[in-house]
Amino acid sequence: MMTAAERRSGDVILKLENISLAFGGVKALSDITFDVREHEVRAIIGPNGAGKSSMLNVINGVYHPQQGTITFHGKVRHGMNPHDAAAHGIARTFQNIALFKGMTVLDNIMTGRNLKMKASFVEQAIWIGRARREELEQRAKVEEIIDFLEIQHIRKTPVGRLPYGLQKRVELARALAAEPSMLLLDEPMAGMSVEEKQDMCRFVLDVNEQYGTTIVLIEHDMGVVMDISDRVVVLDYGRKIADGRPDEVRGDQAVIDAYLGVAH
């Protein structure tokens, strides 16, 4: 029988080679190499300050590494900014919820589809032709995502009024609205109750299976990581200390030392 990983994973679509990132004298990442295969769930774990979020910021162009090459869909990328990353199908959520507080759930998710809208502001001001048509087409798409994530009842609610767990879900919805080929999730389950975590796991796996979206996720809940990810990369102090299937990583001595501390 095939394992989940073999069944789902395809070719390597993202390759990171010898990535080093420093802020002044502080080395956030040093010499990190790993890859992400199509359709897989790839977890990045590690203790606090290990450089996990920096890694995601490198992948979607918020940070530019001083060294190393990033190959996405067979193309080496240089100095890519977040806009290009979004245009190439990389979407993400944030560790601290980064929703647009003043807008409704619907508007937040619609914003995720802004890249698909081509009408100029003049057409939008007059509200005719392409602007009107696009708005309706995108609304229909957004409603599919709202159904998928089961947030129909809060469609018109300003996001600032929602509880934390639902805000996380709306943020996932906004990222999905861009129909990304790769989804970066920065601690999607942090601070959630067990039920909320279960819901979120189900959504992440559903996204992965139904849309075939490649998922790169950072998570601290080891149970979740071991259950849903196909491969895990472990960082500590900006270095890669392990990489492999969840059961391999779990038994790795370096990983155990990093998490539990080791007598020097």
Partner: protein, 358 residues
């Protein structure tokens, strides 16, 4: 509210995405337009038309302009009056120097001129935010007034720097009486207000609000920060420019650069704050409030004196205006930063549930 949306089920996204999804709102707005276009010209006297209603409309337009920039795109600006000045002087010069210039085209070009100036002074917004950006726009305020005073070409070498707006004519029809000027201003403001409402509810408006609320997240979902902010500066300045042109042509008749000083910028900022940051309706409420308040105080103060038998010190009434303004600004900033428009909305929500608390 006196009405609610009960029974009005939407069966298509088009119906759900209307500007006014509730039928009674549509009727209300239509009624307001009918009153403004048909009833007001018949019943209002010259004083009301030329000293209250026309300036109210023009300030409302400038307030919409500033609201697009500050309320929707989150970029604080203190240069509103400067962009109005650009509009006023540009319209004057286009009519003066281009033979047979249609007045509406001159107004549009005045808006475009203001938009270009707005883009230039919007460039720092990529790097600086909040108060520091406000200081950068303050530079626009002083620079534009200085340039208009310093280069006599702009005022066609008039010795005092004062320009007299030319006659307005569209296809041979002269807009020379207060009623006609009012109707011209009303038509322009109505069209531009609808355009603004359409923009803020479509993708360009969402991009502005996204940049306002969380710029990193906006960049990550593919919204380019600089073009988005510059577009907000351009459109905001366009509105202010057209408002400035109307200010000169339909309201005052003669204007000088010094008339567009920092005080005017602040007045319009107050209209945004009191009316409601990030609301088109609020722009009208704020403008109405600030235009009507001095008139209200000036009428009430003598009445109050008479009733109470008091003798208010001379000059108190004019200072009373400033005192009331100041306290209102503090009140709104502290209690309800989203202004009258939000109070209106809260009132509606409360009345929907009334008499139950929730």
């Amino acid at each position: 509210m006196l009405y609610r949306e009960a029974g009005q089920f939407k069966t298509s996204y088009a119906a759900d995405q209307q500007v006014f999804p509730i039928r009674q709102d549509r009727i209300g707005v239509a009624a307001a337009l009918v009153v403004a276009f048909l009833v007001v010209p018949l019943v209002a006297n010259q004083y009301w038309l030329s000293a209250i209603l026309t300036p109210f409309l023009i300030f409302a337009l400038a307030t919409i302009g500033l609201n697009i920039l500050t309320g929707y795109a989150g970029q604080l600006s203190l240069g509103t009056a400067a962009f109005m000045a650009v509009g006023a002087f540009a319209a004057y010069n286009f009519v003066l120097r281009v033979p047979d210039m249609p007045i509406l085209l001159a107004f549009a070009l005045a808006g475009v001129s203001a938009a270009l100036i707005g883009i230039v002074f919007g460039l720092p917004s990529l790097r600086i935010k909040g108060f520091y950006l406000a200081v950068a726009t303050l530079a626009a305020q002083f620079f534009v007034v200085w340039a208009l005073t310093h280069f006599p070409w702009f005022s066609n070498y008039s010795t005092s720097g004062v320009i007299s707006a030319q006659k307005m004519e569209i296809l041979g029809f002269a807009f020379d009486t207060p009623v006609r000027k009012y109707l011209l201003a009303l038509s322009i403001v109505a069209v531009l207000a609808i355009a603004a409402k359409n923009m803020v509810r479509s993708s360009v408006g969402r991009a502005w609000m996204a940049v306002r609320d969380m710029d990193v997240a906006a960049a990550v979902i593919g919204i380019r920060p600089l073009p988005t902010k510059l577009l907000a500066f351009a459109i905001s300045s366009f509105y202010c420019g057209v408002a400035g042109a109307l200010y000169a042509f339909a309201y005052l008749g003669t204007v000088e650069p010094e008339g567009f000083n920092l005080d005017l910028s602040f007045r319009i900022l107050f209209m945004v704050i009191i009316g409601g940051v990030g609301s088109i309706l609020g722009s009208f409420l704020g403008a109405a409030f600030i235009v009507l308040l001095p008139i209200f105080l000036n009428t009430m103060a003598p009445l109050l004196e008479h009733r109470l038998g008091l003798q208010l010190p001379a000059g108190l009434t004019s200072n009373l205006e400033l005192i009331v303004f100041g306290s209102l600004i503090i009140f709104f900033l502290a209690v309800e930063p989203h202004g009258l428009a939000r109070l209106w909305q809260i009132g509606k929500e409360k009345l929907r549930l009334w008499p139950f608390p929730h």
